[in-house]
């Protein structure tokens, strides 16, 4: 279960990444953040951002036109 959920459904680039970065900034090390997005661009943006920032993408699933990501803050 994620510590924080970021609902970015309906938002377009670059807002899912902005919201995710803000949530991670506030989270504690080790926390997991769940991001839900409907922007298909998130499928490439979120893994890229997470890897570049040194965090861990633990899960990435597509379900009913929604993209769910589970990210752990390092």
């Amino acid at each position: 279960m994620a510590d924080v959920t970021v609902d970015a459904r309906g938002l377009q680039c670059p807002m899912p990444i902005i919201k995710l970065s803000q949530a991670l900034g506030l989270a504690a090390v080790g926390d997991t953040i769940e991001l839900i997005s409907t922007d298909r661009g998130s499928c490439t943006d979120v893994p890229a951002w997470t890897a570049d920032m040194g965090h861990v993408l633990k899960e990435q699933i597509e379900q009913d036109g929604e993209f769910r990501f589970l990210i752990q803050k390092v």
């Binding site: 938002l11 680039c13 670059p14 807002m15 902005i18 989270a27 504690a28 570049d52 920032m53």
Partner: protein, 178 residues
């Protein structure tokens, strides 16, 4: 949503920032077109989300983006006044570089952006400022177009020139001219 554990002090800085000095990103915003101002601010906010120290240098028509809505006619010279009338600037009056159709194009584009929840140029500008993106108005453009600091929005950095821009770009990882 549950509240993050309070046993650890929340770390504000992204993980990558702790090891080294923050990477820099510089964007030269030279265009006052809506379709250029938009990517400038999308990339600036995303750069900030990457924990980068982002600076946008607004020059020539790009400076218009930073105009205050009530700036009105600026300058002393009749040519400057004429420029300020035909180049109203502000995030509200930016034209499209093509298919402008006397303002109908931008209006349609903004309606579409609204419909698809694409953040507006004004929203992104405010967000960029909140995220600590530095905004440098070009001093030479201000002089050329007869704009004073009070004709521009609040929260900007000190007006600067090409020297300061190049100095920063020499240390910067990403440099863009849009």
């Amino acid at each position: 949503m549950t509240v993050p554990s309070l046993s650890t002090v929340p770390k504000q800085e992204p993980a990558a920032e702790t090891q080294t000095e923050r990477e820099k990103m510089v964007i030269i915003a030279a265009s006052g077109d809506l379709d250029k101002a938009w990517p400038v601010l999308i990339l600036a906010t995303t750069g900030a989300a990457y924990g980068m120290e982002v600076t946008v240098f607004f020059t020539f028509w790009g400076l218009g983006i930073l105009k205050k809505p009530d700036a009105g006619v600026t300058g002393d010279d009749w040519r400057q006044k004429l420029l300020s009338i035909f180049n109203r600037g502000t995030t509200e009056h930016l034209n499209l570089s093509k298919l402008n159709f006397a303002g109908m194009g931008p209006r349609m584009m903004k309606d579409l952006a609204d419909k698809h929840k694409v953040a507006s140029v004004q929203e992104l500008l405010t967000l960029a400022q909140e995220m600590g993106v530095k905004m440098w108005p070009c001093q030479m453009t201000m002089t050329l177009m007869g704009m004073e600091r009070e004709d521009l929005i609040d929260g900007l950095d000190v007006p600067a020139g090409a020297g300061a821009a190049i100095s920063l770009m020499k240390q910067s990882t990403i440099n863009l001219f849009i």
